[in-house]
Amino acid sequence: MNAKSNQNDRLWMYATMVKSRHFEACIKPAYFEGKTPVFNMAKGPLPGEMHLSDGQEPCAVGVCAHLRADDTVTATHRPHHVAIAKGVDLDAMTAEIFGKATGLSGGRGGHMHLFDAKVNFACSGIIAQGLGPAVGAALAAKMRGEDSVAIAYLGDGAANQGAFHEALNLAAVWNAPVVFVIEDNAYGISVAKKDCTAVARNADRAAAYAMPGHFVAGNDPDAVHAVAGEAIARARRGEGPSLIEIETCRLEGHFMGDAEGYRPPGEVDRLKALDPIPRYRERLLAEGFDAADLDAAEAESQRQVDAAFTAARAAALPDPSEVYDHVFA
């Protein structure tokens, strides 16, 4: 994707947002299998918590459009859109979420612990845990004299964790080529950002680390693309870290099964009316993209996802005795 023209990036961003959204759409019924009529998280082919990324796709594609396989991304407990945009093996990722032997880690990790070493992607279930590792990966590139970068994703809620402060300071002190990307969806589970964050804009916190801070309004892939492009280029040039805060939204509950009683009435409808994917399609069409091209990209995205789900469902569960493998390398 490195040398892509902007229009190519835009088509890729559209196709990738669609792919991510379709991925989540396929997760939904699979997750509820075995969980109806009584919802019990332990049941069905996809047990445990499930954090969907519907609505947050612009954060993934606008940033990852600029990345290469040798760039590192650490994502969060809500990782699917970013994993897909980073180019994580879709089949192995899907199989991992189904806990299958063919999964990225043979079913050991699950949806919050997706690792794909080929594209240097990782995520985790502890808030702000990925920030330090991103600084380390960035420092590794710098020490080797390579121009690869690292991106650490985090939520608005994570910006109040001590790990955020430590990682940003460390990145600045070491002038590490890392970009911190806050997906501001206005909530950490049920707690509104405004009720737990001392500043209105987390981008302003960049000043505490003498690094550039950017706020991107409107959940707009093009706007994210522009700002991230500059921050990433800056990092590649050896000019150090940046912080980007992206205004986005979570169209689903915090996790599947969330009753969302903490939302003001009508909020989800308002957000859905602003769904970034149809908006982006409209913009691309208005700006002269060919509907047939978009449709083809869309169909190809969906085909890949459907194939991944089919393969994942067909794959074997791991042999239980393999549970002891890989505790140590």
């Binding site: 918590e49 299958k100 612990h113």
Partner: protein, 343 residues
């Protein structure tokens, strides 16, 4: 407290916990609640349902995702005369805030020579079995039990949950109140039915430092806690069909450990099996076995055994997770093996 009590009013542990906290908040204005998602949401695990509505946002405070910050603040509040009940959503998150727990809260009384106490309850969910993977399924009983200055308890049923919570809030020390997700009674998690018990709606406490005999028996002592107690009881019921009477001890308290009750039982039965779902090495099983074996007055009829989660991160795939978790079947099998020579 004023409603007429139905003699068989059954509650889940979640309801019992929130009822206890609510009653104590009504009785003592120093009691307050803090944590992530404990106000509007009523706690991810239902521990604070209804409290915001009853007591308002001053005393029921949603916090930022800042465990070190708000547990530290709770210690400050406790030192200043409040009685904060704080939630650490999953025990797995202890790694971001353990200093505030073990070096601050747990040592305040000691470092101050008793001048400043720390009456604080830290409630936290433990346990897996529902596919939530390796950072959301741990137990860490021994991690907390190992470090001095805090009491550590976990109920196996709703009756004890309420009584322990009332005792914990009133205790002048930091109390880690663990609750097991498989027993919590959240619809979305599935719940062992036996944990949903009659809960008196009045005021009562369950001692924080005493193990309970959950089932009497003469042939074998099975020591466990939380979910493991139910595995043990299930196994005991099966054993009883073949005339073997297992005594089941619910530790209730991890720290202090009620060694006397365990020793007394094993002294009678001569056989000890320990069951827990925490990691095996340096765990509850080791401490209980050592506590019995170092008592020269006890003579064993069989080699003591322990069942625990092996020293492996908790795998996501149910195919693997259930392979490593303790179960009634595994308890039964171990018990039978221990009894074989005697049969």
């Amino acid at each position: 407290m004023s409603s007429p009590e139905a003699p068989t009013r059954k509650l889940t542990i979640a309801r019992a916990m929130s009822e206890a906290i609510g009653q104590e908040m009504a009785a003592d204005s120093a009691v307050m609640v803090m944590g992530e998602d404990i106000a509007k949401l009523g706690g991810v695990f239902g521990t604070t349902t209804g409290l915001l509505e009853k007591f308002g946002p001053e005393r029921v405070r949603d916090t930022p995702i800042s465990e070190t910050g708000f547990i530290g603040a709770a210690v400050g509040l406790a030192g200043a005369g409040f009685r904060p009940v704080v939630e650490l959503m999953f025990v797995d998150f202890f790694g971001v805030c353990m200093d505030a727990i073990y070096n601050l809260a747990a040592k305040q009384s000691y470092f101050s020579g008793g001048q400043v106490t720390c009456p604080m309850v830290l409630m936290t969910s433990v346990g897996g079995g529902y596919g939530d993977a390796g950072q959301h399924s741990q137990c860490l009983y021994a991690t907390f039990g190992h470090l001095p200055g805090m009491k550590v308890v976990m109920p196996s049923n709703a009756h004890d949950a309420k009584g322990l919570m009332l005792a914990a809030i009133r205790d002048p020390n930091p109390v880690i109140f663990m609750f097991h997700k498989a027993l919590q009674g959240m619809g979305w998690l599935g719940t062992v039915k036996r944990s949903i018990t009659h809960v008196p709606d009045g005021d009562y406490t369950v001692p924080l430092d005493r193990a309970q005999i959950a089932r009497e028996g003469r042939d074998l002592t099975i020591v466990s806690l939380g979910l493991g107690v139910h595995h043990a009881l299930d196994a005991a019921e099966t054993l009883a069909k073949s005339g073997i009477e297992a005594e089941v001890i619910d530790l209730v308290s991890i720290a202090p450990l009620d060694r006397a009750t365990v020793r007394q039982s094993v002294g009678r039965t001569g056989r000890l099996l320990v069951v827990d779902d925490d990691y095996l090495s340096y765990g509850v099983g080791a401490e209980v076995i050592a506590s019995v074996c170092e008592d020269g007055a006890i003579s064993l009829k069989a080699t003591p055994r322990r069942i625990a989660h092996p020293d492996v991160p908790i795998p996501f795939s149910p195919a693997m997770e259930h392979h490593v978790l303790p179960s009634a079947g595994k308890v039964l099998e171990a018990a039978q093996a221990m009894l074989e020579p005697a049969l």
